[in-house]
Symmetry: C2
Subunit: 116 residues, 2 copies
DNA sequence: TATAGTGTGTAGTATATACTACACATGAAT
DNA sequence: ATTCATGTGTAGTATATACTACACACTATA
């Protein structure tokens, strides 16, 4: 499943229950031209920029980080986190690159329970 | 200290001990025009692309991740890590955003000692 | 049967990114 | 005194990114 397909699929599903999810109305809410959204959904054009992806995924109730990833991007907010302490986070991410999901999740929980 | 200044400072220091670190020779090794490196060092132009930053930081013995960060970038290798599991790493990074260095380092060590 | 709404086709534009090619002036080396 | 190497100035180019504006044909609605 690519970016455009996922947007179309999600939007059509939403549209089947609420007319406000027509391509045109969705495009207007998101702040882009309908023709542009049309082309995005049919992969005639590459995914849009970060801001549009954010609005779109929020509008359709999709995970923004996942949508950005499907578009080949990473949120500038997360980039900022890395750039603020590049050595530290570069090291961590490289270590975690091949760690299984549950191991990473364990860390997330550990940090959440604030042990410092 | 900005990107250009750091490059110049490091290069001049190296040059004082080895003539091969002249602006021209360094530029040739890195594969760019001397005039371009000159402009980068004097911040007349913004930092170069990732590939040039990598070659440059290796040539000058600087940390690539730090150099990329100073250039407002993050290595595509690390981006790939995040994009491969966006929900997971987004969560982790947001949790760690305001964690102190030693707490993050503790995690790095923990992971390095492979506990999964 | 108007008209309102739907998705799509065509033909662009604006801005940023990442550089190149070559000439020039100054100082160091031979 | 000449050549050689140094850093810099000028004037561009190529490519990618992120869209807009408007017209068209078809479908559903009133």
């Amino acid at each position: 499943m690519n970016f455009g397909e996922l947007v179309r699929k999600s939007r059509l599903k939403a549209q089947s229950e609420d007319r406000k999810y027509s391509l045109r109305k969705t495009a207007v809410r998101v702040g882009i031209q309908p023709s542009y959204l049309s082309k995005i959904e049919r992969e005639e054009l590459p995914p849009p920029g970060e801001e549009v992806i954010c609005k779109l995924s929020e509008d359709l109730g999709l995970d923004t980080d996942v949508m950005l990833a499907m578009a080949g991007k990473v949120s500038t907010e997360l980039l900022e986190v890395i750039r603020s302490r590049p050595e530290l986070f570069a090291k961590l991410l490289r270590e975690l690159k091949s760690a299984p999901d549950h191991a990473v999740l364990k860390l997330v929980r550990e940090v959440r329970d604030g042990e410092w």
